[in-house]
Structures are given as structure tokens and as C-alpha cells.
Point group: C2
DNA sequence: ATTAATTTTTAGACAAAACTAAAAATATAT
DNA sequence: ATATATTTTTAGTTTTGTCTAAAAATTAAT
């Protein structure tokens, strides 16, 4: 598989995790930051290789084969992210771009030895689950902070958006994986929340709360 | 720079280390396992980018810029090889292929952090010197075992050929970096040698001796 | 000094992956 | 139900890196 095919496959996978229905050409084009016509070309190729099932105008879904291949790419991406943070002391906002390259390194032996070297981690630095060598994903129970009721407390377990800017915002506000967050107040006009972290109150927008995953305790 | 450009540059570098004179199109084609016409195309592109100086029919040499770029690729290749052997417990015959891919990962920060993580190694698992971040190469003093005089003893410090088959031959004969080798006899008819390792005598061909680097003590 | 052999370059073609512009299909709105 | 808007596909280019076949330059041999 080429780098490009792998990138498409991974994006179709990520879109599938959320959407349930078949994935549209435009949705893929948007994620790939490319043109719809380029996507159509690639979908034909992936269908030819039986990695996706595709019918003109009807969108695509991953085949069993494509689903497994996609999970192996995600596995590589997330294991490399763990390596970069745990062993090389990168911060969580620096690793995504580098992992985008490293995820394409071929050797299965390499990734399995890396997994062992890292002590078989179950989550990456952003709280996302790491598929094991057979493609099994640990089930992570979580909900968006924006959906947490008033007076409930959650532990931060992941981020939906892992862009540098969002992660750096969280750093600035001293929010990290494991941080306890209590919802104090919700402003119905703009859906902003007042939360409490380590005894300090903080106002956050709905956009922020909609990108933070928490687990209730 | 593309992967392909980097591969060409690295090969021109390796050929330059041995040959002194300008590098021929055919020599590059042979190393790249490609056609001379493809090499010509690429040389034009590298010349355009001022990475090599090239004149039709006269071969190429690296510019200062190309020389530095090549050394950075070699640096990455060798550091990744050290990582694979030291941290992931690969054997020295397994790492070259994987490093061929890893050497193209872009981030400077990554490679410098990797260097630090590995404790700034000066040699890779095959005894080859690792350029530092400024491109300085530790000078390794060494000679071929085939050039060692009778009754002299040398310590194995490197291999000229780092193919899997040669490295596995050395494993089988219990020859590793650091092994002491004494030349007992040279057969003038076929240039084969009788050597002594850990008290055991061993007959090796001239081809073997011509691919093993030793340092006299 | 010619001729022959070898090396290198050019010319033209091809596959992969992208693009633009236009056509076709589907979805939405009146 | 028809018109409009949106999405998706096709058709035709472009760029990168490769190839084959043929021409040109260089080197070696008589
Ligand atoms: Mn990532
Ligand atoms: Mn991640
Ligand atoms: Mn190597
Ligand atoms: Mn090496």
C-alpha cells in the first residue's frame, strides 16, 4: 500500500468511527484537504484492492480487510506518539505531525517490538485507545464535558481535537489527562460553562467543552 | 527533498567516500538499481537545486550544501540503526532495511532528541561513524583484514558489506565488533587466510577478509 | 587515425496522484 | 412536480519518477 492509500484508509476509518452511515466523497475530501475528484479516483483504486466497498454516488465503507489495515495504521500512529512522549520527552502537542510520517513505516516486527518496549500501552498521549496486534481496541468509556450535568465531576480522559492550538490552550489552563473537572454552572445563552479545577474556577466556551472527553466518577 | 532525491544524494555521498573522483552516471545507476537514463534525469534535478555540480558526460560531485544534506541523511540512518539494536533488540543484520525507511522522517528535533536518548553514540551497529548535528564525522581508524600482515592481531571494528548474508556469516563464525583476530597464514594461490579467534583457527576467503575492518593493537 | 566498444544523454511513453473545468446524479426547496 | 442547489463523477492536464529505444559523446583498441 502507498502512503496515499494508507492516509485515505485511515481517514475513512476515523470518519466511520463517528458516522455509522457510509462516508461521502466530500467528507473525505475535506479531511484530506484535497479535491472531491481526487477522492473519487482513489476510491476506485481502494475498491479495486477490496479495501473499501464503493458504489458511485453512494459513498464508501471499509471492508473487513480495509478495516483491519486501517486499525494497523492507527496502531502505528499511536504507538509512535507514545514513544515520542514517553521516551523522547516530546510534549503532547508536538507529536501528531511526526507520527503522521512514522505511521507509514512498514515492518510489523518493528511495531511489535516498539509495543513491547513501551510496555504495551493501551492509550496514546491524547487518551485514544491503541489497537493490539490483532486489531482489538480497548473500549474506552467517556463522554464530552459539554454533556456533563451541573455539579457532576469528571476526570479528563481524552481530547476530540488534538490540534496544537487546542492542546496548548489546555496546557495554559493546566488541564491534562487525569485532571478532575467539576461543572459548576452552565450559561444557557451561549452554552459556556463554569468549571472547577483544583479549587480554581474557570470559564470555558462550549467549543472547548465539546472537545474534551471526561469519565464520571 | 523527496525520498528519491534523498536516496540519490546518499548514494552519491557513499560513492564519494571511496572514489575521490567525480561519480559516474553508471555507478549511481548500479547502486540505485535503476537505469542510467533515470539517473541523468535526477542529476539534472539535483543540479537545479544546487545539491550537486554536474556537467554532461563528466559525472557529478556533491556541493557543500549537498554534502551536508547527505551527511544528515546518513546521521538519521545510523542513529535509527542504533535505536533498533540497542533499544528494540534487533540484530545487526535486520536493521538496515528498516533504517532505509526511517532515515526519511523529516523532523530535526526528532533526530536530535533520539541522539540524546541514545547517549550520543559515535558509531552504528556496523561500526560506521555517526555524523553529529553539525555534520562532523568522528574519524575512524581502520584497515581491511585482508591487508593485515601475518602474525599481526587486530580488533574487528566494522564491516564494509553490511548485507544480511555477510552479517549472518559473521554471526555463525562468532565474529562481532570487538572480536580479536590474529592472522596466522596467507595462501598466495587464492589469497585465503587462516585466522585465529579466541584460540580457534578458522579459514576464510579473501572476499570475507576484504569486507572486514580491523584496528591493529 | 580510424574503428569499435562503452557510457551517457535525449526523446518519447507510462503509472501514480494530484488538479481544473464541465457533465451527470442526487438532494432540497418551492 | 419542477426548478435550484449540492454533490459526485468524468475528461483532460500536470508533475514526479520511472522505463525503452535510439542518438550522441567518450574511451579503448587496432
Ligand atoms: Mn496523532
Ligand atoms: Mn493521538
Ligand atoms: Mn544501514
Ligand atoms: Mn549501518
Amino acid at each position: 500500500m502507498t502512503y496515499s492509500e494508507e492516509n485515505y484508509l485511515k481517514i475513512i476509518y476515523h470518519l466511520s468511527v463517528v458516522s455509522k452511515a457510509d462516508i461521502s466523497t466530500n467528507a473525505i475530501a475535506h479531511e484530506m484537504q484535497t479535491k472531491a475528484s481526487s477522492v473519487t479516483d482513489m476510491l476506485k483504486k481502494l475498491a479495486e484492492k477490496e479495501l473499501v466497498s464503493y458504489q458511485k454516488y453512494q459513498g464508501v465503507s471499509l471492508t473487513q480487510k480495509g478495516f483491519f489495515a486501517a486499525k494497523m495504521i492507527v496502531r502505528k500512529h499511536r504507538l509512535w506518539e507514545v514513544f515520542l512522549v514517553e521516551k523522547l520527552n516530546f510534549t503532547w502537542d508536538e507529536v501528531h505531525e511526526i507520527a503522521e510520517e512514522l505511521e507509514h513505516i512498514q515492518s510489523d516486527k518493528l511495531i511489535n517490538k516498539l509495543d513491547e518496549f513501551l510496555d504495551f500501552p493501551s492509550k496514546d498521549p491524547h487518551g485514544d485507545p491503541i489497537p493490539d496486534r490483532n486489531g482489538n481496541l480497548p473500549k474506552v468509556e467517556k463522554q464530552l464535558l459539554s454533556e456533563l450535568a451541573i455539579n457532576k465531576t469528571g476526570i479528563c480522559v481524552g481530547v476530540k481535537d488534538s490540534s496544537t492550538s487546542f492542546l496548548q490552550y489546555l496546557d495554559k489552563q493546566k488541564i491534562a489527562l487525569g485532571t478532575q473537572i467539576k461543572v459548576i454552572e452552565k450559561e444557557s445563552f451561549d452554552n459556556s460553562l463554569t468549571i472547577e479545577i483544583n479549587g480554581n474556577k474557570l470559564l470555558i466556551t462550549n467549543k472547548i467543552a465539546g472537545n474534551l472527553f471526561v469519565k464520571t466518577i
